[in-house]
Amino acid sequence: MNTSVPADWYLLLSAALFTMGVIGFLSKRSLITVFMSIELMLNAVNLSFVTFAHEWHAVKGQIFVFFVMMVAAAEAAVGLAIIIAIFRVRGTLTVDQIDRMKL
């Protein structure tokens, strides 16, 4: 008796979340939101990892997820520091206004 939700559904959800992350990255104008979109993408990947780990009955997938979360935390630290630096010199967090360097 198999009542659990099929794995494909998790994968589709993961893909959807990932795509939403990408779309968020492309469409949002606030640096913070853009940054959060990346977090969303990473979490979507995590979902996939967990799903596959379940599929393969391999613990490796779950381990991966931990590492990803850890790295995401590190990234968040650095990212926020950079965002603060940006705000200090530019006084804005609007992506579209941070284009001093181009062409």
Binding site: V45, F64, I82, V89
Partner: protein
């Protein structure tokens, strides 16, 4: 049996050095000169370099449950990366922006970055790959924005950071999918299990997504967009590092993936990378053509060089690996050299930014001007410099694989490239009215770094035999897998 620790000895040495630098930094008084920290870091990297060389004498093998592998290939890239980082540190010692108390962490970040890059070249477990990539990336993100009081510095870091993370997410998703398809994340196992993969579509998707991440790191078109902006905003010594070491590591990773994990997909990735190569060199060269800002121009040129490197992959057998290894070495030497000189000549404040600003350098300082000329000539790819043999091996390999057109496009591209390199060179050599002395000064560290780069560039052009031999040996470590 070799103890596992020996397999990551350079990384360990580097980590220790980094930690030591940080500790020393915090224990030094606020206003103390931080330059000794640079020398400390340099010492650490030198030790790591020695360790890497020593690793070369070990029999090749894996450690930590098959997640790290040292072989001729990893040794080659370890040595190369350590060399680059060493040169970058030496360049930085006397060329850092003012603000003494930041200097310690600057050197530490460079050393930590080196840890990630080195690890990337020996990792055969995708988890380690991911972590190594992040270690190197996060360090460089911070370094890119090191001049945080300027308008461009943080913008540079921000773009690098966000786009880098964005691309890493793709890579990670690809890793997840390949894990889903094969149930493993170890590179040799992936290759072995690929024929029995659950879903071929999943494999293909995984491959494509991983390529996005890696091609971003090597700044191949169309994933190159970050390069010019980031280079422009970052301090020049950092660019010397950033344009070379992470790319070298990323190319090592690319080779690992293509030849280690996906050799079966050869028929797929060869045409794909063919296109990417052509795109990269064409886009890079054309966009550089009208560029006025020297660093941006060289950024575009590095995109083109990525294209030349990728062209080698059209070859057959393990030849392309050797060609790529050689190319990265030559490329690193000349890029470190030119950026080092730009840092020296433009000074800490980076008053010289456009190509026209470099007019008269040769007259002011014949040594700096002459060496700039040498590196530019090498970048053009004139014989008797490393740049020539790099291109030569790359395209010769492609030709051996039958990709005549690729070679033709590539060499015509290098003809276009000559136009902007030469424009730079002309500015350097042409006399200028009114003297302005070079802002940087020839310190011991700078001399060592730049002369090492210059010497390597010439040596690779005149007697490339030994490096090529090492590169071939490095390439051999892949043929053993099949």
């Amino acid at each position: 049996m070799t103890p596992d620790l020996f397999r990551i000895l350079p990384e360990v040495v580097l980590t220790l050095a980094g930690v030591l630098v940080m500790l020393a930094d915090s224990s030094l008084p606020q206003q103390a000169d931080r330059r000794p920290l640079g020398w400390l870091a340099a010492l650490g990297v030198t030790a790591a370099l020695g360790a890497s060389l020593w690793q070369g004498s070990l029999p090749s093998g894996t450690a930590f449950y098959g997640s790290v592998q040292t072989d001729a290939f990893s040794t080659f890239f370890h040595v190369l990366i350590c060399g680059i980082v060493l040169a970058a540190i030496l360049l930085s010692i006397d060329a850092l922006p003012e603000g003494q108390h930041h200097r310690g962490e600057y050197f530490a970040l460079m050393v930590f970055g080196a840890v990630g890059m080195c690890l990337l070249t020996s990792a055969v477990e995708l988890l380690v790959v991911f972590i190594a990539l992040e270690i190197s990336s996060i360090s460089t993100y911070v370094l890119a924005g090191y001049r945080k009081d300027t308008a461009k510095g943080p913008e540079s870091a921000m773009k690098y950071f966000l786009l880098g993370s964005f691309a890493t997410a793709f890579l990670l998703y690809g890793i997840a999918m390949i894990f889903g398809a094969t149930g493993t994340t170890k590179i040799p196992e992936i290759a072995a299990l690929l024929p029995a993969a659950r879903s071929h579509t999943l494999v293909l998707l995984a491959f494509a997504l991983m390529m996005v991440g890696v091609l971003f790191k090597v700044s191949a078109a169309p994933f190159h967009v970050w390069t010019p902006d980031v280079y422009e905003g970052a301090p020049t010594p950092v660019v010397a590092l950033m344009s070379t070491a992470p790319k070298v590591a990323a190319f090592a990773l690319l080779v690992r993936l293509l030849y280690g994990a996906f050799p079966l997909l050869h028929a797929l990735w060869m045409p794909l990378l063919w296109i990417v190569a052509v795109l990269s060199m064409t886009v890079g060269n054309l966009a550089a053509l009208r560029q006025q800002n020297a660093k941006r121009m060289l950024a575009y040129s590095s995109i083109a060089h990525a294209g030349y490197l990728l062209a080698a992959l059209a070859g057959s057998g393990t030849e392309p690996i050797a060609a790529i290894a050689f190319y990265t070495a030559a490329y690193a030497a000349m890029n470190v050299g030119i950026f080092g000189l730009m840092s020296l000549v433009a000074g800490t404040s980076e008053r010289r930014s456009t190509i026209a600003d470099y007019r008269g350098v040769l007259a002011e300082s014949p040594l700096a001007g002459g060496l700039m000329l040498l590196f530019l000539i090498s970048l053009i790819g004139i014989p008797f410099t490393g740049g020539f043999f790099a291109k030569f091996y790359s395209f010769s390999t492609a030709m051996q694989g039958g990709a005549t057109w690729l070679a033709l496009i590539g060499l015509l591209n290098s003809g276009i490239a000559a136009a902007y390199y030469l424009r730079f060179a002309m500015a350097v050599v042409q006399p200028k009215n009114g003297k302005t002395a070079p802002e940087g000064r020839w310190s011991v560290a700078t001399v060592v770094a730049i002369f090492a780069a210059g010497g390597t560039t010439l040596a690779l052009g005149i007697a490339p035999g030994w490096v090529l031999h090492m590169a071939s040996t490095a390439a051999q470590s892949f043929s053993l897998l099949h």
